[in-house]
Symmetry: C2
Subunit: 427 residues, 2 copies
């Protein structure tokens, strides 16, 4: 008899053995969605020269001391600075230079007045800007370092490179980026019933869907899947595959062979390898026979051969371990709460992870189980975007209850909600 | 003077011109996160043979007619069927075959009794299974097609290939998969102030961060970015770049040059190209000068050169257009509601999209603006995982209000919430 442990204990026992990931360098071009291996520092102040936030006129603020709407002042416009250009002379009182958004403030200028507040007039072949109010020193000047300061840590290592981080890398000239190597994850699918995806069907056999599912889960979590092979329900074959995989990969996943059936060799494989068993029974459904073992400081995850149990086992145990190796912070599935839309009355002493779909009605999240909730049913994984978590020891859960959910898929919305930007247009 | 239109009108005007995406074939190995170009059909029933859902004994149910706990019956066990194997003889009444989970039910058997409910006994060198209750016909037999029926549409085209879809593809032997070609998106960054990422800094100039940000946004949305080049604020150069891009790419994005400054050539480029202007002012901040134009039935998106405005413009307008081309359903950003954690008192006639971070306290979503909310500030894009949408025409929004948010980044949770699976372990 195996003794079940709690889900959180199983997670903890795996997370005690964090592998430290390695670093590699990639071009910024190939860095999207990779994980920063070093803090991203500002290599300069931003802006690193004083710049104008608007189209306007760079002026010496003191020249506008007397200006008001009745007695506007006129400053001579010496020229225009486009973005990317500089003005070589020092600006003197009573002079102005037209300046475009983003352009460098000329020497001597102490403020910018927005173009909308001015008027250009031409007199005796010279151009003047008319100003009707007093401008303060420093007005509309973006100071050096106002956005970011040199050597400031902008993004912590372990952050995955999203569009904002990409923009920051480009701003600071990171042509190559130090990122975490993707942890390699070996997949060994065990079971004499398994066929490869391009094998013709034979009676009693099914195609190996778990390995492909796991590949996608590994990619989604940021790892590098290595599909080892199918192994028959044969002790020696399974033993050799796991032994080889643990030498080559950072993480090893087996599917199947973990139960107490006559051909479930994984427990014996752990034994012969000299691996330390971390757990072999978890108080959860599906996947109660999920096991974990430790060998050479690497974790072997023995997932169930049932697709849903395999899926859940990966998301609960392998995902955080893999993401921790990447140095990430948000390694667990995100929790939310949703209103249960259907009675779920099966009693169970174990915590249930029910594949489900959550939808937002504009106000609250709702959730409904998908497919036929049997652990051997692949189809229920297609539409699931969350798990409903139903703690064990209850008689079931009724429609209308608020339940915890764990989010597994990010999705958009099918229509643009036009009320969201319901502004009255200015005339 | 340009006339601003509402955000939803701008979206509609772009979505009136949907390009039809093309199809290509990829290996299942490379299909993760691609979009199905055809409905995914079940090529067989699943299961396509009757199978056992548990470890147990295949029997003829009628043989157990008289069994009860006082008078158990004994059936002779002829052998064992492992998963992947078949039993050649037809099972007769009063016979049993031990059967493993997933194995094919032998001919003649009409039920399976779970191993936990039985006991094996050996008598005169023969093995018998003891059964203490009546078993019903069909009990514990997974019928042909119980999970999925042949020719059933399992996944609709336009669905992106997640781990569940991947498992389904493998189950049905799809070694190659028809997916949508990634729409090509040309990026032309305009501005004489722009340097390439590996250029040394020069006074008045900044590195081109928008193009890299857009690359990441395009990848995230499922497109194929083509970085054209930087163009100076020069009419002819800009014109030629856009002309060439529209011939080669499905979608063209320009950044910068859309305002009314002296060097904003995009409006004139549209004119010379003979493009139809869809809009050149939107009642939103940032990004009010975002423009759209139509040429040869392709849309040109004229995004602002300010990083935040550029970012928002992509997510609101380009993303749904690109995803519609992929045939996807959920093309818009997902909406949620969250409690505003800080006063936001700037009045504005236009709808504001405020870069913000939302967090879930286990009960409700909360949201807070990030960074310094200026449109030229890259750093505020790093931490943002949503936009707060604040409809225009209001005096501002107070802390504690429920506001709409649009989700832009999917994230996990930093800790495993141990209360979520708070089950009492069975003893």
């Amino acid at each position: 008899m195996r003794k079940p442990i709690k889900v959180e204990e199983a997670i903890q026992s795996v997370m005690k053995w964090p592998l430290t990931g390695e670093k590699e360098f990639v071009s910024i071009e190939n860095s999207y969605n990779r994980v920063l291996a070093e803090d991203l520092l500002a290599t300069t102040d931003v802006p690193w020269f004083k710049r104008s936030p608007y189209d306007g006129y760079a002026i010496v603020a003191a020249s506008t001391q007397q200006a008001n709407s009745e007695y506007p002042i006129f400053l001579e416009v010496l020229g225009t600075i486009g973005a990317g250009f500089t003005w070589d002379a020092e600006l003197q009182p009573h002079q102005a230079v037209k300046i475009m958004t983003g352009a460098a403030i000329p020497e001597g200028a102490t403020a910018v007045i927005m173009v909308e507040l001015t008027k250009e007039v031409i007199k005796d072949g010279k151009t003047y800007v008319q100003i009707k109010r007093k401008v303060k020193d420093g007005e509309n000047i973006v100071e050096i370092g106002e956005d970011m300061q040199k050597d400031e840590v902008l993004v912590k290592k372990g952050t995955s490179i999203n569009p904002g981080v990409m923009a920051t890398l480009a701003t600071f000239g990171y042509k190559t980026v130090a990122v975490m190597k993707k942890p390699t994850v070996a997949i060994i699918a065990t079971g004499s019933e398994l066929l490869e995806v391009d094998d013709p069907l034979e009676k009693g056999k099914i195609r190996n869907s778990n390995a492909y599912m796991l590949k996608a889960q590994i990619l989604r979590a940021g790892g590098e899947p290595i599909y080892y092979r199918l192994v028959k329900d044969d002790f020696e074959e399974t033993f050799l595959a796991v032994k080889q995989a643990i030498e080559q990969a950072d993480i090893v996943i087996t599917t199947g062979g973990v139960s107490v059936g006559d051909f479930d060799y994984i427990p014996k494989v752990y034994e012969k390898l000299g691996a330390t068993l971390l757990f072999n029974k978890i108080a959860m459904r599906p996947g109660s026979v999920t096991s974990g073992a430790l060998l050479n400081e690497k974790v072997i995850f023995g997932l169930s051969g049932n697709p849903s149990a395999c899926y859940v086992g990966f998301e609960l145990f392998v995902r955080p371990y893999l993401k921790a190796m990447l140095g990430q912070e948000n390694i667990y599935l995100k929790k939310a709460q949703a209103i249960l839309e259907k009675d779920f009355l099966k009693a169970n002493p174990f915590t249930r992870f029910v594949r489900a779909k959550t939808t937002f009605d504009g106000n609250e999240l709702h959730v409904e189980p998908v497919g036929k909730d049997k652990s051997n049913i692949v189809s229920s994984l297609i539409d699931a975007n969350c798990f409903i978590v139903l703690p064990g020891g209850s008689r079931g859960f009724e429609k209308g209850l608020k339940v915890d959910i764990l989010l597994i898929e990010d999705e958009g919305a099918p229509i643009w909600d036009e009320h969201i930007t319901d502004s009255r247009l200015p005339r």
